[in-house]
Subunit: 325 residues, 3 copies
Amino acid sequence: MQNSFFKKKTNIKINDILETLKLKKQKTNYKVNDIKDLDAASLNDITFFHSNKYLEKIKKTDCKLVITDKRFTHIIPKNIKVLEVKNVLVSVALISSLFYPKALDDNLDIDVDLINKKKYEKLVSGKNVLVGKNVKIGKNCSIGHNTIIESNVQIGDYCNIGSNVIIKNCIVGKNTKILDGAIIGKKGFGFFPSKKLNFRYPHIGAVIIGKNVEIGCNNTIDRGSISNTIIGDGTFLDNQVHIAHNVKIGKNCIITGQVGFAGSSIIGNNVMIGGQAGISGHLEVGDNVKIGGGSGVIKNIPSNSKVMGYPARNIRNFLKDNKDD
Amino acid sequence: MQNSFFKKKTNIKINDILETLKLKKQKTNYKVNDIKDLDAASLNDITFFHSNKYLEKIKKTDCKLVITDKRFTHIIPKNIKVLEVKNVLVSVALISSLFYPKALDDNLDIDVDLINKKKYEKLVSGKNVLVGKNVKIGKNCSIGHNTIIESNVQIGDYCNIGSNVIIKNCIVGKNTKILDGAIIGKKGFGFFPSKKLNFRYPHIGAVIIGKNVEIGCNNTIDRGSISNTIIGDGTFLDNQVHIAHNVKIGKNCIITGQVGFAGSSIIGNNVMIGGQAGISGHLEVGDNVKIGGGSGVIKNIPSNSKVMGYPARNIRNFLKDNKDD
Amino acid sequence: MQNSFFKKKTNIKINDILETLKLKKQKTNYKVNDIKDLDAASLNDITFFHSNKYLEKIKKTDCKLVITDKRFTHIIPKNIKVLEVKNVLVSVALISSLFYPKALDDNLDIDVDLINKKKYEKLVSGKNVLVGKNVKIGKNCSIGHNTIIESNVQIGDYCNIGSNVIIKNCIVGKNTKILDGAIIGKKGFGFFPSKKLNFRYPHIGAVIIGKNVEIGCNNTIDRGSISNTIIGDGTFLDNQVHIAHNVKIGKNCIITGQVGFAGSSIIGNNVMIGGQAGISGHLEVGDNVKIGGGSGVIKNIPSNSKVMGYPARNIRNFLKDNKDD
């Protein structure tokens, strides 16, 4: 999916990868298809493993080539070739750049031009709408004033896009609304800190927004680094919500104002989150979870729980311990 | 007040309402004027009652027609006709749509055009300012670049509107400043969740901003659903504040950066709120209250109190219990 | 530094200051150069002292003229002339207005016009970019669509400015990125509350952004009141961060999404701050500090500490006290 926005080099071979990682080249050279995370990687791809959180996934993958470090080499299944490196994520960034050399540059799309309404079926368009190359907009959509839709974005039928919206590297399902001032699809806040010069890693993922979704005013939704950022069907986001790279939000969730998600967390279906709550990175929140306003979620939350507090815990215990004084 | 922005149907009769709610029609048909909340409803209107919080108000209303459910039917005063329904708020949404069929559509205003400065007295206007039909702008105002003022908005004398601002369904008092990037007057985050398709209810209220007010950069202020969202005279809001539908903020309040208000809360006069604090929905905060930064207010706060914490409580107790370790 | 954006009156004499403060004029009149804070004031300037926090600084200043109140008059070094007033900050505001009569007006820059790309070396510019008078843009920069760069702003070489950005009263170092929707350089949220009409004080400072910095989407960074707001070299800010007036952030800091800084706090180098954390005003945070997501910092934090919680405290104690229940 992510490949629609960033042109992939199709001639990368295993020895190109080994050379980039400063590992010893091998005799038999062969083509590697793409770099993907454990969920998406298949037979001819390269993937990576950097946390015991993903132990079940490494056991089930079809992928036969993995980047990891010496802490994990011994637990990688025997039928997978291991490329042992010092820093997995830095190595992933380097290999991503190898496949997608243009995914680092995130500047303005100079290919946009004033929208040509005639190209789209039953489109209602505002003033000064800028649209890039190869943009698809379904029938019966509306697009507000001063909105920018960069090249290759796809928008389904019956969508309403507000004014002053910026959309890039994004696929939007049908009957979805994106309200004024939302900024969708820029690269995430991902880099390797360095006192010399922070090393930005490429963001080759997209933002995939389902159908019947509503994205609130002034939301910021970053695209994924190696996988996609996903907003499931029927999910509604209120104003000033921030969603970092690689976050996956399920279906029919209700996310109220000023909620923030750090990177790579996975939220189930039918989850309700109160205003200003924050969800740390790399967590899993199950289905039907209710998270009280202002909560700070710093560990996984099982399905069907109600939590509140900072750190978030069982809501009954939180309220019991916080009676009036 | 709300009727200035959404055209009301003037021929709605009691039997139209009964039919919409799937209740039995009655012999004597008569016109109903409007749907309003308990504060605003008068003799010929229809109102609704869905919480004991509003018990004092139902006792005092002049309105003679109320939607409620069986939990409350017995406590409605005898001189008020009760329409007993399963879900009060869904019924209110249906009846609102009956009176205001266009208050659900919240797309761009296609009637805007480049501002004609000559129409307004001593106006300083930026580049690419878009203004809708029937907009009133008082004398000696300024409007920044790329700002959009939708149809029917009214702005008082001596106001300064920043750049990249979007204003709709809003009345602004004199000598008020609205800073860059603020988005004012869109429909609130109000709907009935459904796994099939969330049911959006109409927002027939406006945003009413007093005089001598300052609205900060990138604020989002939603219009009311059934009543108005109100910002009182002399109140100052810092950047990135979010104000949900139906919130009423009093006079001379100081609301610092990133504060958020959930829907329908009522804030008194001279209230000071520190950065990032959150106020839950349907609460009352009295006059002269001070709320510390980062607090989470989840219950009513009496006048003249100082609170802090999550949940917010007496500030002395909060600080005493949180001494150094 | 601040003087580049607001024209200073150069003929202010000590008796003008005394008259403005309603103090008794003196026989020997002489010119005063400028009003500055204790860090920046030198021999011919006027400065102010209003808190014991700045005791070390008043001892070391070269400045010979200070505004203070009677609580502090006796601790001002003997070689400094004291102007004793009732309210130091109100007096500072009055004297700032005396030197910089135009620093109160913060309306749109009517001098902007569509950018003339030929004026800048190797510039990539989007559509509808507005640029004021006397703007400097270094070589090899890009500027996104609908962005406004007001008069006198300076941007270094190799910078990338996003779309829908507003920059005023700001100097940007080389190789810095400012992402979509950021609003930089407006006056801070500074005023003296009054039930009649809040009294806004002038903001004569600028925003000084270093080199290799990244400013995230929809950030709001206010300019300083009497000193500058500073973002140090190599510091990265994520989306929806709010930085109030006079805040000084050191080098190589990492500030994640939705973090907020109240006014005048000083943050060291290599500080990492998790999402949604808030830093109160007038605090000092040392070097190499780690602040957990969601924390509320309400006191100084020494270098090399790790803190978390609300209020923020030693992270080990916070996590120990918040085990599962």
